[in-house]
């Protein structure tokens, strides 16, 4: 066991896979020599050399298109798009090219690649560097979508993503890079599509992703100690594939469902999950499912405004408590 930051876990995860498989290559803007703007790729150039670890120009379309072409012809690229907001400038590759090749060619082509990106708010970078775009990705058929909340999950899920035969969008949360956690020694390999129960509870189920997981956890502790409400907190970890069974099982135990989402409200991932639960477990519910989200706005820059927009521990506590009292 060692204590590792989330950002160092990214380095270790990439290194683990590059050391294991010579077909794994890594490219992005300022990822090699500078070690990444989030310091999450430090040392990879030195370890694996300039042919496998490449700095690119500011050309997101070239980055993802090249990753795709390389994946179609034998490599297993990891491509970095620095901020997930920039998915919008290369969205053709994300929405039309990478996810569709296998399907359209009846399985002749494949696209085993990972797109890593810094996602989410909290850094006061303003509306074009702070978005949570997990829902942009989840809506596209052909993409897998993963968002770890702990250093251990970063390594295990990144390894699973690299080894997956299909394209995976890997959303790292910018506000988690400095967070530390225990990580076992040796190789770590996790499984995509598995949620994890981070706090068992009997009164209500709270689903969360990435930065919202520690907030949901803190809220659950407060709800228990201050209001005697015992919440089960589930880290969804992977939106596609989704661990529907874990979610339905939890709802069957607690009979209440809350989602804590950083994405703007309309078409957030929680809406999809609420609809699944309504379809499959409607009669298990003792009350309406409640979505706690960022309002349907771009994120404001000023610190107090950004804090107000993102779901906070207090907002989660308040929303759950009021709903449970009814």
């Amino acid at each position: 066991m060692a204590e590792l930051t989330y950002r160092d876990a990214v380095v270790r995860g990439i290194a683990q896979e590059m050391a294991r498989d010579p077909d794994v290559v890594f490219l992005g803007e300022d990822v090699a020599k500078a070690g990444g703007v989030f310091k999450a790729t430090v040392g990879l150039l030195e370890q694996f050399g300039p042919l496998r670890v490449r700095d690119t120009p500011i050309s997101e379309q070239a980055i993802l298109g090249a990753a795709m072409g390389a994946a179609m012809t034998g490599l297993k690229p990891i491509a970095e798009i620095m901020f997930s907001d920039f998915f919008a400038v290369c969205f053709d590759y994300i929405a039309n090219e990478i996810p569709k090749g296998r399907y359209m060619s009846n399985g002749q082509t494949k696209c085993p690649l990972v797109v890593r990106t810094g996602n989410g708010g909290g850094a006061r970078f303003g509306a074009q560097h702070s978005q949570s775009v997990e829902n942009w990705c989840m809506m596209i058929p052909g993409l897998k979508v993963v968002a770890p909340s702990t250093p251990r999950d970063v390594i295990g899920l990144l390894a699973a993503s690299v080894r997956d035969p299909d394209p995976v969008i890997f959303l790292e949360h910018k506000s988690l890079y400095a967070v530390k956690g225990e990580v076992p020694d040796g190789e770590i390999l996790d499984t995509l599509g598995t949620a994890s129960i981070v706090r068992p509870g009997k009164d209500a189920t709270i689903l969360a992703l990435a930065l919202m997981v520690p907030r949901a956890f803190a809220a659950a502790e407060k709800l228990k100690s201050e209001f005697g409400i015992d919440c089960e907190v589930i880290d969804v970890r992977s939106l596609v594939p989704l661990d529907t069974q874990a979610i339905l099982n939890s709802v069957a135990r607690t009979h209440r469902l809350f989602t804590v989402e950083e994405n703007p409200r309309l078409c957030g991932w929680g809406a999809e999950i609420v609809s699944i639960v309504a379809d499959e477990a409607f009669y298990e519910l003792d009350g309406p499912p409640v979505r706690i989200t960022t309002p349907h706005i771009p994120l404001p820059a000023a610190d107090i405004l950004e804090d107000l927009a993102l779901p906070s521990v207090d907002r989660i506590v308040d929303r759950v408590r009021r709903s449970m009292e009814n």
Partner: protein, 333 residues
């Protein structure tokens, strides 16, 4: 000082405001740098220090009705185009007295009343927006122009090619101003950019100039010619201004970079070619300003900056109601 691109009467009335504006941009940003390092600013800042001659040399020719788009490194363009230092600093501080009332922040300062359509967090996004602003001019048949400021790194986005084509094809009153400050973040330009950027524009057979971006008169001359041409219906022009970013890509960079990405000797060499120092020397040499007048100007600017910084710091925090208010037109407070 090389001033061969000059093609205007260098009167004191033209020259002194250039120095004044460069000083204003510089001193505002020096204050922002200090405030950032004192932990007072809510977010990061990308400073323009070292590149002032470009924004000032171009914007000296522009009216409020002309439009510009800018980049993540947008404070210099904002001030050079006539934006208020008070309102800009308050915005960067996240205050309700900010030019966007705290909604935008450093990377999104905008003042449409001054023709500043906005700084932009997406590298190269301003190019196509400027194309649209220039297209709008062709419908109102005025002699307004639209200027896009963008970096050498931005030149590697496909949108440059798209915009050059449309602007040329439609003969738009647009000026492309590429500020080649020798870096895309931490990558020296030579490691990420093939060929000369200005040659990309030459392929469209529009007037192109490659100028010393630390020589405000060279920039002023090239921009003056391009803007005048655009006003008269002569279509787009491209200027590549060679300059140097003296501060970091962003002020926080030292806290996370594992090693230096440029030699300090190189930075020092460029510090020796500081556009403001060069221009002061020129003005003194030509007998246009004496030491006393330069000092008076410095004091005047220092007072403006002190006032703006205090205004920003003392301002009330942003208004929480705004978070839900300004999404659509009918909600605007």
């Amino acid at each position: 000082m090389k001033t061969d691109a000059r093609n205007f009467a260098a009167t004191k009335e033209v020259l002194v405001p250039l120095l004044r504006q460069m000083l204003l941009v510089r001193r505002v940003e020096e204050r922002l740098s200090a405030d950032f390092h004192a932990g007072k600013l809510p977010g990061g800042v990308h400073l323009y220090i070292g590149q002032e001659a470009v924004a000032v040399g171009v914007c000296a020719h522009l009216r409020d009705s002309d439009t510009i788009t800018s980049t993540h490194r947008g404070h210099g363009h904002f001030i050079a185009k006539g934006g208020s230092p008070r309102a800009m600093m308050a915005e960067i501080w996240g205050k309700r007295s900010g030019i966007c009332r705290g909604m935008g922040g450093s990377m999104h300062v905008a003042d449409v009343s001054k023709g500043i359509l906005g700084a932009n967090g997406i590298v190269a996004a301003g190019l196509a927006i400027t194309c649209g602003a220039a297209y709008a001019v062709t419908l109102d048949r005025s002699d307004r122009v639209a200027v896009a400021f963008f970096g050498d790194g931005a030149a590697n986005q496909g949108t440059l090619m798209e915009t050059l084509n449309v602007a040329t094809l439609w003969n738009l009153p647009m000026i492309f101003v590429c500020e080649n400050n020798r870096f895309s973040e931490f990558s020296p330009t030579s490691t990420v950019t093939a060929g000369d950027i200005v040659d990309r524009a030459r392929a469209f057979k529009i007037p192109c100039a490659s100028v010393d971006g630390n020589d405000v008169l060279a920039v002023h001359g090239a921009a003056g010619a391009a803007i005048e041409r655009a006003r008269k219906g002569g279509g787009p022009s491209f200027i590549e201004a060679h300059t140097y970013r003296l501060h970091g890509h962003l002020e926080a960079e030292k806290s996370f970079l594992k090693s230096a990405y440029r030699e300090s000797a190189e930075v020092e060499e460029w510090r020796g070619r500081d556009p403001i120092a060069l221009f002061k020397t020129y003005l003194r040499g030509e007998g246009i300003l004496d030491e006393r007048e330069v000092d008076a100007l410095e004091r005047e600017i220092a007072a403006i900056v002190e006032d703006a910084a205090q205004f920003a710091e003392a301002g009330e925090p942003a208004d929480p109601n705004l978070v839900f208010e300004v999404m659509f037109h009918e909600q605007r407070a």
